[in-house]
């Protein structure tokens, strides 16, 4: 077995190299290192945006330009300021102004594009990247296309950072702070919410995550990082013109993220280093080989990205990680953490869910027709019916994924019809999905912790600054408790994708429980489970029921249903055809006809029993 290096040592070596560099490197290397640092800042934002949240932007270069131009306009005294505001000409104040303005602009652009599906954001960023580039070129007071010089150097504690060697430290401190902030963010409650965006809106919203807000937050963070890079750049160059902020550079930044590995924070450093160095090298080499001048490195970069994405979607970071194996740090669980507060449970037999006359039409198709049902606290209600009967549609109406055409849904006395699943989740309804929706690369522990999202409050900034550790410990302890409860403790640190389908279903229940619900909606929880697992699931649900939980489940395994549930509602063709105790349903003529085509002497549980001869082992 290969020797594994601890992550602390790897980081220490990296920082030591960074510290030594300015004392040994040539002037040319220093310029290169500065450019790598500046690019890394931008690419960090793209890693968060593209690799983690599954969004993308080609317009990051425009945000870099925004930071650069705003700071240049203020510090080079282009903007005529009244005497009272002359203090704003300090580059440090300009940085603040640039960050605030960039964040506001990103907020505006983001709120327009981010609500739309995947493709509008990149197209929007292309269009707006081009527009901003042209606008920079029309600023006559800042030299138009030719640009403007005379921008002051930065001054830090009385030291002027005029040379490449001097500003190097500031650039790389900014990079390392950015890396640390993103690393901290991803390892937090809000970070898990951002990572859950890739799992689809329905799952994230059902866990109470405001996906639209999360997308905008990510977009703003990426824009702000780009603006910091632009600010550093303009005070390093002391000259500004539009060309480094064009769309081509925006595409370069995206290539850096993809090449390095957009799913890892360190991929940003790797990708930026490779592209900056390669570009430098190819720009010298290719014109000599081809015998003419021009930016031919684009051919190499383009082909490289095509080949890379055909071979490995995760970029080069995983290859590097294999060469130099660094031990991943496990999340620590503090068993002594103070338990999270629990919501007051409704009194036994209180009606928790009241579905009244819900009808849902899709064009001419009536998927749910005048459906009514009630679920009480401390009761398990099964919703059964043949495939296509409309059970999952009803689940969607109840959980707020869809809005009924008519009728109402009341949850704990609140009218929740069409209120959206996030709102409903906040009231204490939690669900599992018929088709498992887990983040397959996140560990079991992290997946379950997503369920506890609404039980924490600390935000993005607190997470970046590690001010959330106390709450985080409580959230993880709660997740671990639920994992133990469903019997997955042995798999706690495995990626969810490595579990069997049955275990994944159990994991979804643990995730739902982490939300501290008073109503559980389970969509076919027993499908794909082995007998022993089914029995364990039955025991778990019985225990939850005895604690006063209300459970509504859709299930096809009649054996499982008849043994467990208190009442049954049977649907066929979108309508309720029967409701009652399990024994009554087994002998109900309408139910038999729905399942078997016509009434005959055999009852459902008997066929189910015949199919499952192992019963009672």
């Amino acid at each position: 077995m290969k020797r594994v290096i601890s992550s602390r040592i790897a980081l220490g070596v990296f920082i030591a190299l960074l510290v030594v560099a300015p004392f040994v490197a040539s002037a040319f290397t220093m310029t290169l290192l500065n450019n790598i640092g500046l690019a890394t800042l931008v690419v960090l934002g793209l890693v968060l945006l593209t690799g983690v949240a599954g969004l993308t932007s080609f317009g990051q270069a425009a945000f870099v330009g925004l930071g650069a131009y705003i700071s240049a306009a203020l510090s080079a005294k282009v903007l005529p300021l009244p005497d009272a505001l002359l203090w704003m000409q300090s580059p440090w104040i300009a940085l603040l102004v640039a960050l605030v303005l960039t964040a506001l602009l990103a907020l505006a652009v983001g709120s327009v594009t981010l609500k739309l599906s995947g493709h509008y954001l990149p197209l929007g960023t292309i269009a707006w990247g081009i527009s901003l580039y042209f606008i920079f070129g029309t600023l006559e007071s800042m030299g138009g296309q030719t640009g403007m010089s005379g921008i002051p150097s930065l001054n830090l504690f009385g030291v002027t950072l005029a040379s490449d060697r001097a500003i190097y430290g500031l650039i790389w401190v900014a990079v390392m702070l950015g890396v640390a902030a993103l690393h901290n963010l991803l390892d937090s409650r809000e970070g898990r919410a951002i990572r859950a965006l890739k799992g689809g809106m329905v799952m994230a919203e059902a866990m109470g995550i405001d996906t639209a807000r999360m997308r905008i937050v990510v977009f703003v963070i990426a824009a702000v990082l780009a603006a910091v890079s632009g600010w550093l750049y303009v005070h390093m160059q002391r000259f500004v013109n539009p060309s480094p902020f064009g769309l081509g550079f925006g595409i370069d930044y995206l290539f850096m993220a993809v090449l390095g590995g957009a799913s890892n924070v360190w991929g940003a450093v790797l990708g930026s280093t490779l592209i900056v160095v390669l570009k430098e090298w190819l720009q010298g080499l290719l014109p000599v080989i081809l015998g003419r001048s021009g930016n031919f490195e684009t051919i190499v970069f383009g082909l490289m990205i095509v080949v890379l994405l055909q071979r490995s979607r995760d970029g080069l970071w995983p290859y590097l990680a294999r060469l130099v194996p660094v031990r991943a740090r496990r999340l620590q669980i503090d068993a002594g953490a103070e338990p999270l507060p629990r919501r007051p449970m409704p009194a036994r037999h209180e009606v928790v869910l009241d579905v009244r006359n819900v009808t849902r039409k899709f064009g001419g198709l009536v998927a749910n027709n005048d459906m009514s049902l009630k679920v009480m606290a401390g009761e398990v209600l099964a919703l059964i019916g043949p495939n296509g009967a409309g059970k999952s549609t009803l689940f969607n109406q109840v959980s707020g994924v869809d809005t009924p055409t008519s009728g109402s849904v009341q949850f704990r006395g609140h009218e929740v019809t069409g209120r959206g699943s996030r709102h409903i989740a906040g009231l204490g309804m939690s669900r599992s999905f018929q088709h498992v929706r887990l983040m397959s690369r996140m560990t079991v522990l992290e997946n379950v912790a997503i369920g506890a999202y609404l039980r924490g409050q600390r935000g993005v900034l607190a997470s970046m600054l590690r001010l959330d550790r106390k709450e985080e410990a409580r959230l993880l302890a709660e997740a671990a408790r639920q994992i133990e409860r469903v019997g997955l403790t042995a798999q706690m640190y495995e990626p969810a994708g490595a579990l069997s389908l049955g275990q994944q279903r159990i994991l979804e229940i643990a995730r739902a429980l982490a939300a501290d619900p008073c109503l559980l909606l389970l969509d076919e929880p027993a499908a794909g489970l082995r007998l022993g697992e089914k029995q364990a699931l039955g025991d778990l649900l019985r225990k939850l029921r005895s604690e006063g939980m209300a459970i509504l489940l859709v299930e096809h395994d009649m054996d499982f249903v008849m043994e467990l549930v208190d009442r049954i509602v049977v649907m066929d063709f979108g309508q309720k055809i029967a409701e009652g105790l399990p024994e009554d349903i087994q002998n109900n003529a309408a139910v038999l006809e729905a399942y078997l085509g016509a009434a005959d002497e055999e009852t459902i549980p008997d066929t189910a029993l015949a199919a499952g001869a192992h019963h009672g082992q």
Partner: protein, 344 residues
């Protein structure tokens, strides 16, 4: 602003709009069938225009080597796939591709096209460049056809970036402006319409109608639409997604190259001009929500007109106006779609 100027700007706007409409249609077609946003659509345009320019200047048609290179690479990919899946019988397409590339490149490199009639030049341009579409699909997209739209988009951008570099290498930094198809002009009172503008509008309309007929009336067209609606279902019905992808890319390259040939006499095209042109097609297709053909075409026409009139009023801000326009359109779309989105 008098009537003459309005007519002039309108004529400009409609000719450009017709080209944008063609590109918008092609973008929508490719997107619905393959989920690929075809950013390199613009390169077909610039390659088409620049190849025509190359011929008319009597330069050797070095772009033929690109066809040869792509064909060789595609054959290598085919052979690799055959070896990997241990399928022994080679398809007839493999030698056919090589023969085609050899013959077309041979003719292109040995004949001087500058003295031949315009029709021969156009035919040669199409023969050289249209196969680039399916070859591009084979090489860049077929191996990752099932990837997420985001990955497909990044590959699409990468192909675009590489092709711009290739265009600079093959055609050089000089722009091309070709001779018009016919010299005649149409005079209506004091208004003068250039014949090239009429050519553009007529050929565009013809192509749009042909596309409509193909998709509405022929079995292949219906099969492709089926593939767009439901890939899995279409596949079960025996419609190969590879065939659908290549067919769409063939259409896209045909439309793109034809657009380039049409527009080259009206405006100077450089190696990197294609992107901005196709981007306006994109804005048009966004108006159509990337799914509706008529809305995309009308949107693109509107873009052409807005662009031409903003040239008159605020020429420095021409590009800005067109692209900032996308923001209210997106805003309107985001407000009008109620959104229960499920990613694939």
């Amino acid at each position: 602003m008098n009537l003459n100027i309005v007519a002039l700007l309108g004529q400009d706007g409609i000719t450009n709009g017709a080209i944008y409409a063609l590109l918008a249609l092609s973008i929508v077609l490719v997107f619905t069938v393959t989920r690929i946003l075809l950013i390199p659509q613009g390169e077909f345009v610039s390659f088409g225009a620049l190849t025509m320019g190359m011929m008319q200047n009597g330069q050797p048609l070095t772009v033929a080597w690109l066809l040869v290179a792509l064909c060789l690479a595609a054959c290598a990919f085919d052979l690799y796939d055959m070896w990997r899946t241990s399928r022994r019988r080679p398809s007839l397409w493999l030698p056919a591709k090589l023969v085609y590339a050899a013959v077309v490149a041979g003719v292109a490199l040995s004949v001087n096209f500058s003295t031949l009639p315009m029709l021969a030049q156009i035919a040669m341009t199409l023969l050289l460049l249209v196969p680039m579409g399916p070859l591009m699909y084979r090489l860049a997209f077929q191996p990752i056809a099932s990837a997420s739209p985001l990955v497909l988009l990044i590959v699409s951008i990468a192909v675009h970036v590489a092709l711009v570099g290739v265009a600079l290498l093959v055609f050089g930094p000089e722009g091309a402006r070709t001779a018009p198809f016919t010299e005649a002009a149409l005079e209506l009172g004091s208004l003068r319409f250039s014949s090239q503008a009429l050519w553009v509008v007529c050929v565009s309309l013809l192509l749009i109608v042909a596309l409509f007929v193909m998709f509405e009336r022929t079995l292949y067209g219906k099969a492709l639409r089926a593939a767009a609606l439901n890939r899995m279902g279409a596949r079960l019905m025996g419609i190969s997604p590879v065939f659908a992808g290549k067919a769409m890319f063939l259409l896209a390259s045909l439309i793109g190259v034809m657009s380039g040939v049409l527009i080259a006499p009206l405006t100077t095209i450089y190696y990197d001009s294609g992107f901005l042109i196709s981007l306006k097609g994109f804005v048009g297709s966004i108006i159509g929500g990337l799914v509706s053909y008529p809305a995309a075409a009308l949107g693109a026409l509107a873009i052409g007109l807005i662009e031409s009139f903003s040239t008159f009023w605020a020429s420095a801000y021409k590009e800005i106006i067109v692209f900032v326009l996308i923001i209210p359109i997106l805003l309107w779309r985001s407000l009008s779609t109620r959104h229960v989105e499920e990613e694939e």
